[in-house]
């Protein structure tokens, strides 16, 4: 005979007892977390740390968007993945979801293996209480910013390269948006990326943890505790800066949050158009062509693979891919037929 279920059912709050006892969060905060929905954009280094924290903290619904598959060099910092996931050739979103369900079976995890772009951004973010940035490029961050401002939803920006990281919480209508602070992305080829400049796992974990705490405050309804500045840290030099950007709110002639021009969301500014060319090659072209400086680019890339350039083109070979980059930022990437993969490679090695 079965025992009456009602007397043995555990209190769903029990597993969170240690954080419920934290007075600033409390039981009401925990219940709010459990009823909240988060869209996490990107499940790499930042994304896995974020997802890990939020799943353990009991965020009720986690949607994880990432189109990439796990590679061995991800394991150095992407904490939800292991060697078996690499061997199984799993998409990051799917592997993360499997791991998170083992960590916390009481929450819903929804993996979405897709390229986040202007056609699907509103759908993937529309039902979220909060959007989190786990991406590796400015292109997608501006898209998130557009969508968040348009939907009037908070989002948390985070980015890490080397031992340095930045994060900022954006509350549309209350704090400056990403474009108020950084109006346009740097041109391709001119900025370091994790592929070219490297990245330390703990630095990512620090920034992702900052983001996660802010996320918990927001979802728990403790907005008064949020940090409204741009935080910049360098773990190697041990510097910590808090840039007072909150004063910019309403004072910047921002195309996005003031004029409500959603250039990335409308597909106007998304800088890359692509076309298949030949077998196993994709052309990625910048929509705002800017002259590249090949010698500087070559310097950044030379440690990663064979790189040569002349006045007309820069050729770079790495990890089985061959890049031919033209002076206006256009690139032919050989070694893939997958447009989304080519865009990722472009963002990683040419920059965006």
């Amino acid at each position: 005979m079965a025992a009456p279920a009602s007397t043995t059912a555990p209190d769903p709050l029990d597993r969170y007892s240690r954080q419920v006892r934290f007075p600033a969060l409390g039981e009401d905060g925990q219940r709010a977390l459990m009823n909240s929905r988060v869209t996490l954009c990107g499940c790499g280094a930042l994304g896995t740390v974020l997802a890990n924290h939020l799943a353990r903290a009991g965020v009720g619904h986690l949607r994880i968007i990432d189109r990439d598959f796990i590679e061995t060099h991800n394991l150095q910092r992407q904490i939800l993945f292991d060697e078996r996931d690499v061997a199984d050739n799993l998409p990051k979103a799917e592997a993360a979801a499997r791991k998170l369900r083992l960590i916390n079976s009481t929450i819903e995890v929804e993996p979405v293996v897709t390229d986040l772009d202007h056609t699907n951004a509103l759908d993937l973010m529309g039902d979220a209480d909060l959007i989190l940035d786990g991406t590796d490029n400015f292109e997608t961050r501006y898209l998130i910013n557009d969508a968040a401002v348009k939907l009037n939803k908070p989002w948390i920006f985070g980015g890490v390269i080397g031992s340095e990281g930045q994060t900022m919480t954006i509350l549309p209508g209350e704090t400056p948006c990403l474009r108020c602070v950084i109006e346009t992305a740097p041109p391709p080829g001119m900025t370091p990326t994790c592929e070219t400049a490297g990245v330390l796992g703990p630095a990512v974990a620090v920034i992702a943890s900052f983001e996660a705490v802010e996320a918990i405050k927001l979802l728990a309804g403790k907005k008064e505790a949020l940090n409204r500045d741009l935080i910049m840290v360098d773990l190697w030099d041990w510097t910590f800066r808090q840039l007072k950007v909150s004063g910019l709110f309403g004072r910047v002639d921002c195309p996005c949050c003031k004029h409500r021009k959603f250039d990335w969301l409308e597909g106007e500014a998304g800088s890359h158009t692509t076309a298949l060319c030949g077998r196993n090659a994709v052309q990625v072209a910048s929509r705002r062509p800017e002259p590249l400086k090949f010698p500087e680019m070559a310097d950044r890339l030379k440690a990663l693979g064979d790189v040569r350039h002349n006045a007309f083109m820069l050729r770079f070979a790495t990890e089985g891919y061959e890049f031919t980059v033209f002076p206006d930022g256009r690139a032919i990437i050989k070694g893939t037929n997958d447009i989304a993969k080519a865009k990722t490679l472009y963002a990683q090695f040419v920059g965006a």
Partner: protein, 384 residues
């Protein structure tokens, strides 16, 4: 900019075409329809005038045999899907653009038809080989007049006679030849002639036409059905030509521009225009002969050539890279790759990277071509 991609679409257009597009858009851009109002009737008259112009230019059987289409692909689909029935056999060649090979391959893969692909040699198809491929079940021979990759002009007069003798229908894809190589429908028994309006006839993009000769009258089905501007009470597509094939609002603005383009070509004559383009290509051929690593694809015979030519590129640099550099560093527009014609590239051994295609127009000068060749020389001198 130096534009050498006229095989894709011609640029620039004659001044008269630009002027007519502007004038027509400002004064006459109604939806053509029989009856209605004066502007609609004037628009209808424009369609009619250009039908007459096409019929005269290509010496067709009657103006109403010309249906306006969106482009040449649309015209080819209209003919292919309009006449083929289950169990039919089709003959095509390895020179075809995907606009012929894909619809036929799709029907073939669905098990509805069978097809034979005649193999070209040096860019030319032999009439005997086409004749030999025809079987009693052959319903349609569909082939290009001039290869869009190589520019080689096919012996369609001899082929047309052989097809007619067999009883099959002949569909000619004049994408690269209309306006450049004379086509005489009275002298050559062609059942369907599909052409773009925006290449050698100098209309805007979004224009094309299909000529459907008398032998197609009882067999062709309307591939597109819908409003025709008249006989609205009929439950089915009205059989009256040319409206039968022309359902939906036509691109009357484009056709108005096309009319001026046809007049411009007719005034000069295709022979003179072709001669100019072939002379420019001769420059390319001579340069390729003396340049290390470069080779003209297919046989170069200036007497049997339209205004396009493709080159094998030297080792160490791909056609895509060359085209990218020409564009970014020299502002020269050319077309690399497979040119939507994969079978001929397999035949030539240039699959999958393709070739580099140069296609001049009557507006291209010898100096333009010389600049392009100098640029190619400079680029390949520095190949890493």
């Amino acid at each position: 900019m130096i534009y050498l991609d006229n095989a894709a679409t011609s640029f620039p257009k004659p001044e008269a075409v630009y002027r007519e597009l502007d004038r027509f858009a400002r004064t006459s851009l109604a939806n053509p329809g029989r009856a209605g109002h004066r502007m609609a009737m004037a628009a209808e008259k424009t369609l009619d005038d250009v039908r007459h112009a096409l019929n005269q230019f290509f010496r067709g059987d009657a103006p109403e045999r010309w249906a306006f289409t969106l482009n040449c692909t649309d015209a080819l689909n209209m003919a292919i899907k309009g006449v083929l029935n289950d169990g039919d056999h089709v003959v095509l060649t390895d020179l075809e653009h995907n606009s012929i090979s894909r619809p036929i391959r799709a029907l073939e893969k669905a098990g509805r038809i069978t097809a034979t692909r005649v193999v070209s040699r040096d860019g030319y198809v032999a009439a005997e080989d086409v004749a030999a491929a025809i079987t009693p079940k052959t319903r349609l021979v569909a082939m290009t007049h001039a290869s869009n990759v190589l520019g080689t002009v096919q012996p369609i007069e001899a082929i047309a006679r052989a097809v007619r003798a067999s009883g099959a229908l002949l569909l000619i894809d004049a994408a690269q030849s209309a306006g450049v190589v004379p086509i005489d429908l009275k002298a050559t028994p062609i059942d369907f002639l599909a052409l773009p309006g925006h290449k050698g006839l100098y209309g805007p993009t979004g224009t094309g036409a299909l000529y459907a000769g008398p032998r197609a009258d009882d067999v062709i089905r309307a591939w597109r059905e819908g409003g025709t501007g008249g006989d609205s009470s009929s439950e089915l597509q009205p059989s009256l030509r040319p409206y039968f094939l022309e359902a939906g609002s036509p691109n009357v603005l484009g056709v108005a521009g096309l009319g001026r383009g046809i007049a411009w070509v007719a005034e000069r004559g295709p022979d003179a225009l072709r001669k100019h383009e072939v002379e420019l290509l001769q420059q390319v051929v001579d340069w390729a002969d003396r340049s290390e690593g470069w080779r003209v694809a297919g046989l170069w015979d200036p007497e049997r050539h339209a205004g396009a030519l493709s080159l094998f590129t030297p080792e160490g640099i791909s056609p895509q890279e060359l085209a990218g550099i020409l564009d970014v560093s020299f502002d020269i527009a050319v077309r690399p790759g497979l040119h939507c014609a994969p079978y001929i590239h397999r035949n030539l051994g240039s699959f999958p990277d393709g070739l580099l295609r140069l296609s001049p127009s009557p507006f291209t000068t010898a100096d333009d071509v010389a600049q392009c060749l100098e640029a190619l020389t400079a680029i390949t001198a520095g190949v890493m």
